[in-house]
Assembly symmetry: D2
């Protein structure tokens, strides 16, 4: 059963590239899908994190290319100057989120694929926003303390880019929250004998575009002998079809660490609750007041791959 019928709006934020570049990337992606970028409103959001980190963005370009999608502007569909102006002028993504969700309380799924700056600002501009999403599905954070940004950090990239925003979102959202942690990529389910490249070689525009935008990352992974695999795609698929995508989940309470020198941006989870049952909660050192988050720890790789294939073939 598909729960996501259409895309109401897209917001952009600084991550491995600027919100401006991300806006252009979204416009180009829509065009690759045969969609007029004016049909789906794009709201440009934060160009800096709330506080941020001394993040080595050069290091990201090494992996993702200068524009975050392999740096191949002449590939299909070629970059157009208007891509950079495709956003709705004069309205910050955070204000747009407030207005859109206010109009459709409990109806819209919010899928987060980048740093959470815009969502945090929406929560701060309007505390009621915390109750308005039907659900939030977020690619970001971790469940086993594994980081992917640098040797001396246990933070995942999206959370590392704006730890304060991640902290606010995890703490304040009052709707169901599902997280696709970084470890879904790092510790993939062992049965994953999937040819992750097959969908890139189909003779469709979208296949070609996927081939282009993942080119740089795939090459880097290959050089290190790592199989290319899905990541943000898991989050989108989980939003669309959780029953088929999620093979194993964990419900855990947690908060984002803001003050560590090695752990700033890490999700600090409460595993004591897994160990002890309700009775323990009478001890002051245990607490079950925070809302539990659903973590996807094992997902159905073949099912996701098939969804991707259908999408690429436009028959989803």
């Amino acid at each position: 059963m598909m729960t996501l019928k259409f895309v109401l709006a897209i917001t952009t934020v600084i991550g491995c590239v600027s919100a401006l570049q991300a806006t252009a990337n979204v416009a180009r992606t829509l065009r690759a899908n045969g969609v007029n970028p004016k049909k789906i409103p794009i709201y440009r959001g934060a160009e800096t994190p709330l506080i941020g980190n001394d993040h080595d963005h050069e290091g990201e370009k090494w992996f993702f290319g200068a524009d975050g999608i392999s740096g191949r502007p002449n590939d299909f569909p070629p970059v157009e100057a208007e891509d950079f102006l495709a956003h709705v002028e004069g309205k910050h993504a955070a204000n747009a989120l407030v207005d859109i969700f206010k109009e459709h309380p409990n109806e819209i799924t919010l899928v987060c694929l980048g740093p959470l700056t815009n969502i945090a600002m929406a929560l701060k501009l309007c505390p009621m926003f915390s109750q308005w999403p039907k659900q939030v599905v977020c690619m970001g954070g971790n469940v086993y303390g594994a980081g992917n940004v640098k040797s001396y950090s246990t933070a995942e990239f999206n959370f590392s880019n704006d730890p304060e925003a991640a902290h606010i979102v995890i703490k304040e959202l009052q709707c169901p929250v599902t997280i696709i942690p970084w470890e879904c990529f790092l510790f993939p389910a062992s049965e994953s004998k999937i040819d992750f490249h097959a969908h890139l070689n189909l003779d469709t525009p979208l296949s070609k575009y996927f081939n282009t935008v993942t080119f740089s990352g795939r090459k880097k992974l290959e050089e290190s002998g790592i199989q290319y695999a899905y990541c943000d795609e898991i989050a989108m698929a989980t939003a669309i079809d959780p029953e088929n995508i999620i093979l194993e989940e964990k419900k855990l309470r947690g908060s984002v660490e803001l003050h560590g020198s090695l752990t700033r941006g890490q999700l600090a989870l409460d595993w004591t609750e897994v160990l002890w049952n309700e009775e323990k909660m009478t001890l002051g050192k245990f607490c079950n007041k925070r809302r539990p988050i659903r973590f996807v720890v094992k997902y159905n790789i073949p099912f996701l791959d098939e969804m991707i294939h259908k999408t690429v073939k436009k028959c989803l």
Copy 2:
């Protein structure tokens, strides 16, 4: 093959009970083994952590009993007043460690079952100490960011009690280090259909004593529907017979977080090295200068259980 032939000395430290109480517990344990406590030198060590935490020791007594071993002083062998004086007078455990290892460089295995305060002090009193142990096997810390002390902490108990000591030990030791992380207990290998209680019902003095000293903890675990299992025992068995005990290990570099508000005392590991191969090390954000630590992530439960049985029956 047994690598540990005999116990040269035992040091005590504040943990769930004071170093004074721990000293008495060691003396009583030696007596339960039929060993005269004067035969194996006991060195009393730190009565406070270097810095420490606002640790809720009442909460520990809830689990371990007032004396840390179930609070049953009249059970076999009954507590004796001399137990509290069984240590070598006038020599701090840290000074004893320096002197003992100085005399036997590369010969002795150091097994750590409590907070690392004494070891850290030995390293500070004598930097050469870092190279003297043949190996260090340590029960403590974590590999997947799971804590066991309280809801708002990702630190394991021993590391949480003295994060600075754990930091110093992990950073400064120059010999092989093996860690039995808390997750060995939390995420036991699935095939563990062991009757962990069998060895407690053998008709031997040591069986009786084990029954006594684990009484309180087992009861608490049962109340929460958790199977009683081994913990410190894994470390000792790993020191004695690593080939048979370790089913799966991971080599990871890491440091102890000192500054987090939720993660203080957690081991912050470098998983980027698992992902990327050597080539990545040219990027400044990656670093492989720290010595890798061996983490036991899966151990041979039946083999350990058999070791325990043999020990209890005195036929090891």
Copy 3:
């Protein structure tokens, strides 16, 4: 020379009371001045800090009264229900700040008397905001590491309430910034033989109102044998007439500490620059890239007192 001709708008924020209560207090204050609250737009702002602290607001009420202005609703002018609705509906203070300053770049002085949440959000919603104020005068923070919130904190109240907002504001503002640190109150200039009570006994409406709203705080200060003195008033007077108000100032670079357990929210200033001259800047450990902030360390108490008297007598 007066540089501040009229008040364009007032924004409210959670501090010792909620933004809602602060809004009502502003409306009542305008009425006490004989001003229709509809004449000066009031924008209600943040009801929570970005991240915040576990702040003991009960402790504040002990000093300021339940409504933050002595809790005497029937005194002149009595509280009216409409006071709580006096704000401009549907526009968050942060959005209002962006719109107002965008329209009048380099023309408006921004005076900050509470936590800096709204200003930080304005900077995040619109990075250009950093260049639009003519100047910012801020009561908050410290220059000598003295806190006023609790024994185990070196943060001043306004900065302590939203350290992240203070950090953002101090870091990102590109216009001249003047800070009236907490130490202006704690270490007053020695010649301060002023009767701070005189203006409270003048027979004018405003005198009566001042008497009311400072009642609770003055009583608490008296009980501790501390002379009542000015605080927020210094900031407002500095904005109006800096030449006459400022007796001594220091120019220092600094940042707000976010991660200390005792110093979270403190201004961490660079005194090395006071010591060493330009030449030192070639050493990596010294840095003069941050914009210097002007700190008022000694102000003209009699002049301020006269300004207050004139204000109270409506002849400023």
Copy 4:
């Protein structure tokens, strides 16, 4: 009245130079005084801080010279090879401190002129040590949050080098503690029209030696237009003759911040107690459990200068 009759022992520690180099410097200084270095036991102490900081020791050499005393080995008295072996072999300074003070409880003044690593270790090796000094006089830390190590730190050099040691010492000492904070140098009493160079030009061996060892630092201060002044000398003089040296003192409770990114190593003091009187202590946010420390905030420069002159002329 002189309270310090003779020097019982000297301990060395890593600071701007290694403990080894410091040991040699002490031996040379004793020789410059006409004292046989074997007459006063020197105990070599910690060669690394407990945890430490990424401290730029190159930057210190810029100021103090390669050996910490201007790097002029051929000046009077020339460095001798035995200087580096002048310490008592086989006894760490921390153990020596424990043994010496244990033998003379409440009789000895401990003067600290460097990082506090050895003292902290003595406290950890023997908690009773906290009660044994008659008093501790310490050059280090700050009273107004001013740092002297680098732009992005509010820590004073000695505390910055080993924040954990400073934390332990400040927290655990139970005897009277007097601190000469860095601000005694930074904010000298205004009447200081002293010729700080006069004592360097007297025709005595000690005058010559002082000239040598302060050469590098004086030159750097001159280049920056800063008057050369006393620092460690204030601590020693305060230990000898507090009544004449201390012009103004403050009693404040405090702790050393360990976790800040800008304030790590700063003394975080409780100024709320200065403001509020005893009655406040009923509120949970206020606390007067920590022992107050005496801070010298203004000292008698001419009196100290005269003491130095007498010392240099050997007529003290």
